[in-house]
């Protein structure tokens, strides 16, 4: 009798133990599953040290120490191995973050890692502005390699479109401007050969680097699209204002407004029609006084090119912010990048960027006009508080209206959302020069472009589809 009761109790304890273990196993499984993400890279470990990284996006085969590792269709498996057990070969292909295939005799571990580490870095040397690269990568090493690649690519464009400096061995925008004016053509011998460069741009054609030609091509498109408001040939006028602005910022008491006559004279040489695009990346320029300024398009164009090169290689989870030109390359793990559009009325110190990545802790009503969520779009804002100088009590911003030849003054800020960063950059400039209602109407007439305008009065106008991007209650 006694034995039975003791036995029953023991049995009960047994069952409890068994159930407890199963519970632990279940919990462990749920926790692991919850954090399971699809993998992006396979790290190959040899004897405890990292040997190689294989991207899951490209099919590859590598042989190490008697093991043949295959990456195919986003999965990793061991094709062959010389180990006696062949356990590793029998394992099913893995593809999710955290999954592992191991060949013990050869001391090889294939570990799948996903993109879930947040990293961010800023550079100050690209387009003379703050560039921030944010990405979700497998680890810090991967981010370092990625950001270096992006930085290098951006620097290439920075140098190419720089109108203030030349770089040895590179034919860039500054070189182009110099050659147009013909260095030794000071006597007005337009069309004569420049002693230094040996070319003439007036009659003959000059072949320029493809990326520079492409920018010119797109700029002509933008000129036509925006009714001449985006005009890269505004160099002569812009440089007058540039000088006045620099002087005004260094000597605030002696700041001056350029003379109308001077501006008008310069304005005569701002006809983009003087630029002729030929085949084979060749151009000719009819007016020797032409001078290009790519300020309205260069950043956006470069950002778009870099973004596209990343997309082509299958990257996702990256956010580029080139001085306020934001372009998302694939969504982050959270689903979308939250971008806060600054409220011009907010009393915050502005750097070059009107667009900030909205953090969850900031109160959104005062600091931002709104917050938008993007996954692969470009967002660009043009504002009148970015670069400016003051004469007396009047502010003179940096976006010049081609018609008045004076800084545009009709709105406080314009934000554009569309798929192409170059287009967004150009449109934000163009719309900034228009009156608020005109700007919205123009944006509505374009496909897949959304705009938000902050008027001088503080009123906010949006295109019909803009609110689809807006994120409610960002304080997640």
């Amino acid at each position: 009798m006694l034995n039975n009761r003791i036995d029953e109790k023991k049995l009960k304890n047994d069952l409890l133990l068994f159930a407890g273990i199963l519970l632990v196993a279940l919990l462990a499984m749920l926790t692991i599953k919850r954090y399971r993400k699809s993998g992006t890279v396979c790290v190959v470990w040899l004897e405890g040290k990292e040997y190689a990284r294989l991207s899951l996006l490209t099919d590859t085969v590598i042989d190490i120490e008697g093991c043949r590792i295959c990456v195919k269709d986003g999965q990793v498996y061991m094709e062959e191995a010389d180990c006696p057990g062949q356990d590793c070969v029998h394992m099913k292909p893995v593809s999710e973050a955290g999954q592992v295939i191991a060949c013990l005799p050869n001391k090889i571990v294939l570990e799948i890692k996903g993109n879930n580490e947040y990293h961010s870095v800023s550079y100050l040397d690209v387009f003379d502005t703050v560039t921030t690269i944010t990405a979700y990568t497998a680890d810090a090493a991967e981010f370092a390699a990625l950001s270096e690649r992006i930085h290098n690519e951006l620097m290439e464009y920075h140098k190419l479109y720089d109108i203030y400096h030349e770089y040895s061995g590179l034919y860039n925008a500054c070189t182009l401007n110099r050659e147009i004016s013909g260095k030794s053509g000071a006597n007005g011998n337009d069309g004569e050969k420049s002693a230094d460069t040996g070319i003439s741009l007036r009659e003959a054609k000059k072949q320029i680097p493809e990326a520079l030609y492409e920018l010119l091509e797109r700029s002509v498109e933008f000129y036509d699209l925006t009714g001449g408001r985006v005009n890269i040939a505004m160099g002569p006028v812009l440089s007058i204002w540039h000088e006045a602005r620099e002087y005004g910022n260094e000597n605030p008491d002696k700041a001056y407004v350029p003379r109308v006559s001077e501006l008008a004279e310069a304005g005569k040489h701002c006809d983009l029609g003087n630029l002729v695009l030929h085949d084979d990346c060749s151009i000719s320029v009819k007016d020797i006084m032409t001078s290009f300024d790519f300020g309205a398009v260069a950043k956006g164009f470069a950002t778009e090119k870099v973004a596209q090169s990343l997309e082509k290689d299958g990257y996702t989870g990256i956010l580029l912010n080139v001085g306020g030109n934001i372009r998302a390359v694939g969504a982050p793990p959270g689903g979308a990048w939250n971008i806060g559009i600054d409220n011009p009325a907010a009393d915050t110190e502005k750097n070059d960027s009107w667009l900030q990545q909205a953090s969850s802790s900031k109160a959104t009503t005062d600091l931002y006009v709104t917050v938008v969520g993007i996954t692969s779009q470009a967002v660009v804002t043009s504002g009148d508080y970015q670069r400016f100088y003051t004469v007396g009590d009047r502010r003179y911003s940096h976006i010049i209206d081609p018609e008045t030849l004076f800084p545009a003054d009709k709105v406080s800020s314009v934000t554009i959302i569309c798929d192409d960063s170059a287009l967004a950059d150009a449109l934000s400039t163009a719309l900034f020069i228009m009156a608020p209602n005109e700007a919205i109407k123009f944006a509505e007439s374009l496909d897949s472009v959304e705009a938000l305008v902050v008027c001088k009065s503080g009123a906010i106008l949006k295109t019909a589809g803009f609110s689809e991007y807006e994120v409610q209650g960002v304080t997640r």
Binding site: D14, I21, A25, W45, C88, E111
Partner: protein
């Protein structure tokens, strides 16, 4: 039971354990981690524990592990078996002492620890922590095999106990 008798039984158990080990070696089971085993030989260990006591159980275990690794295993399998076998035996000894569990419960714990031991060794050998993701699978299979072996060993122990005692000293 006299000492010599115990030794004799221990020898038989050791041989039996090796056969179980060999059977397991022939089965192509895969848990995802190469080298991880089911632990069928643990059946013999449990029976030895309840019939001969912990010292003999340990001896039987060690003999089985060493010899089977030599004969049809590898250094690697030796490490796995040692870790799994010793840890599982230890927990079984502890639980048996508490007298709160039946043979089945003790076996469940033994099975689980057997697998945990193997996982720990695998992590050390590969110098990689990420294989810990296999923990749920191993916990579950360890508990299951433990339960099954335990269920089998209850009648085995009962009947053998009778026969061994009946034969007298």
């Amino acid at each position: 039971m006299k000492q010599t008798k115990k030794v004799a039984y221990a020898g038989v158990f050791a041989a039996l354990a090796m056969i179980f080990s060999y059977i397991e070696f022939l089965l192509p089971l895969n848990f995802g981690i190469p080298g991880i085993k089911l632990g069928l030989a643990n059946l013999v260990t449990i029976v030895a524990l309840y019939l001969l006591g912990k010292r003999y159980a340990l001896a039987v275990s060690l003999v089985r592990i060493l010899l089977s690794s030599l004969l049809f295993g590898s250094t690697l399998s030796l490490m796995y078996s040692l870790a799994g076998g010793l840890l599982s035996l230890e927990i079984m000894i502890l639980l048996k002492k508490t007298r709160r569990f039946s043979i089945a419960g003790v076996s469940v714990a033994g099975g689980v620890m057997h697998n945990i031991g193997q996982l720990l060794v695998a992590m050390l050998v590969l110098e990689n922590f990420s294989i810990a993701v296999y923990l749920p699978v191993l916990l579950f299979s360890g508990a299951l095999t433990g339960a099954l072996l335990g269920a089998v060993s209850i009648p085995v122990v009962k009947s053998l106990k009778g026969k061994i005692e009946a034969k007298g000293n």
